[in-house]
Symmetry: D5
Subunit: 92 residues, 10 copies
């Protein structure tokens, strides 16, 4: 099942830069791992903002929540989740 997820990141000023760098590296590794598993289907940068628009393909709401809440940057993210159904005009 597909979900569109828009994630806005706001890292508080004053965090230790090394800690932030590690979080970002972990986030990247996790995002790439989930893409390789076919669960994080699309990942686009919103031009001009520290944000992304993504599409996830997972088994259930529970799996989606586990994935999103387990992201290293989750505590600094605002999430907008939209469940996607098949569109009658979609081909292929």
């Amino acid at each position: 099942m597909l979900y569109c997820v828009e994630m806005d990141v706001a890292i508080p000023h004053g965090l230790d830069p090394d800690h932030v760098a590690r979080l970002k590296a972990d986030e990247k590794a996790r995002a790439q791992d989930l893409q390789r598993q076919g669960k994080w289907l699309h990942l686009w940068r919103v031009a001009g903002r520290y944000a992304n628009i993504s599409v996830f393909d997972v088994e259930s709401h529970d799996e989606l929540h586990d994935i999103l809440s387990g992201l290293p940057l989750f505590p600094f993210m605002t999430m907008r989740v939209t469940p996607l159904a098949r569109h009658p005009s979609a081909i292929g």
Copy 2:
């Protein structure tokens, strides 16, 4: 270049049903044609709403505007357009 477009449709009550049916059929044909051309890359239904989330792959803002403003249901749609850039963590 990629654009995420969220389209909400609100057809005014009182329109002639045959006219609406023709508009919807034209919209479907146009959407499928644009998908076949590779310009309307993704088309998903927002579950529970008369709305879709789409991704377009076109040459320019002008081409995007020509496509969207030429849709048969355009006069009844509210559009939210987001330009998408490559994400540094995207693979493939």
Copy 3:
């Protein structure tokens, strides 16, 4: 899978009253049928508004969309859909 759906109803003034009465009767019959099937799990009236808060238990986003978009009053409803996951503190 569970979805919380908040539905606000706004019937345009000027519709034929008999037509509206039939739509409401059909809506009620459909809602009760879906409750008996176990798909429309909870249905509450929002006190003071022509609106409800509901919980649906269905197989997929597609099934949710088919149910909601098939409601007789769907053209007059504004929907807010929220996918629900299991809460770690929930019992039973």
Copy 4:
């Protein structure tokens, strides 16, 4: 009487992690106790967000306020409270 309560949690960065862990454990124990008493009727996680949608069954607005304002994480929560009435199409 039933109330739908949507709770969003935002724990400020910089709190002592042990203190936060204790608050979360206390919150969980309190939530489970209230569920066992039949007052916290439903508790669902909003998929992808540190938030829940709940239904409470209590005697009065006063009892609801005492329960909510007594939650260990209350100072970090944004609450949206909706009183629920019986829906004329609800069965059972």
Copy 5:
């Protein structure tokens, strides 16, 4: 139990003036009857707007909904309902 209710009225242009006049007279009679019964505890006009702020004292959410949805102008009103609890600093 007390509820604060803010009601905004928007009567569509084009309604038959006699019908509107009858609705307003019925609304006034109903409002005064409910005040005499002690259920519509306070009724204030919002200065400068076709709106009121009211406080109701009723037995339950169901009774509140029956009263509000039974108002003659209900189809033209937007309602904001807030359940009120006892304040620890209130006297008397």
Copy 6:
């Protein structure tokens, strides 16, 4: 003259707890004094939130401002002020 005032309180985390306790005690004493003077006519807790809905009966905008801006918790409050006029359907 009457004013409806909705006050939301948000005390920043990290303030000295003794200082906060003193502020709250002062706030309570001040609120009760103003009630006894007949200026703070009604004071209700918004169920589930650290907020109140109040009605003030004062001579002028200036007096209202002096009262509100002099509250010990004023620096932590968000105020929504609504001037109330007599409603033509109000009795008594």
Copy 7:
């Protein structure tokens, strides 16, 4: 006492043009009469919009409501009323 009032005008399309012209002439006459009486203290056009920002000097909320609700264009106006107090830095 002073009130800032922001008025947005939205005249529905399809009204009889002669009727609208009479309403606007009546509105202008009424506005000028109230200015001459010293009650409508300031009247400015919001540049680029069919809207005004005004300051009224009246005895009470009731008088303000009578004036505003009696304006010929009142049914087509959205009002934002702000009570104004004396500013401690104001001179003269």
Copy 8:
């Protein structure tokens, strides 16, 4: 003096198509005339919406209001006006 103006156009359904066509032709002629005069400095289409972002260079707020309120499509437009000052980092 410069003003950024964002104009959204919403032509009501049911207007006579010939009338609308004349309005649009008049609007275009007026827009081009104002561009030639150097008053309508920039005119861009918002991609995907029946809207534009424009910059005007006029003598005063009054002149801006006369120009905008005189546009043939003005009754169907929502305007957002932003006065622009010189930026300290602007060159040339």
Copy 9:
């Protein structure tokens, strides 16, 4: 030229009280100086909030920006600027 400016002040908790007191004294002196020059035409307190509604009479957007951005409390203010034109119904 006239501008309506609504200023909301939010001084962060934790600033040195002496520093804040000096800023406020400087702000007051500056506001009074600008009033004496005839540039800060009106200055009203919004009743119940740490905010003001003001009218400025200056030569240009640049002068307005210089004045506002030079206010001692500017870093703590949220500004809403509205250019004001002459209203056709204004007298005198």
Copy 10:
């Protein structure tokens, strides 16, 4: 391709003033360099606010994102990006 970008700057209180001064100087140098390259086509100050409205002329969404996310003040900015198409009424 053209993009309208509205940037609001909010520098957190408590940053080291020298660091802020360096960031602002770097920002200015970068903005002027991009203007000289013809990529930052217009740069206007929003009168009364620490904000600007800009127009960029770049090759792609990716280039826009690289430019914006590389600005020294980017971590303190809120961005609103609008892709601009050619307007059919634009001349020249």
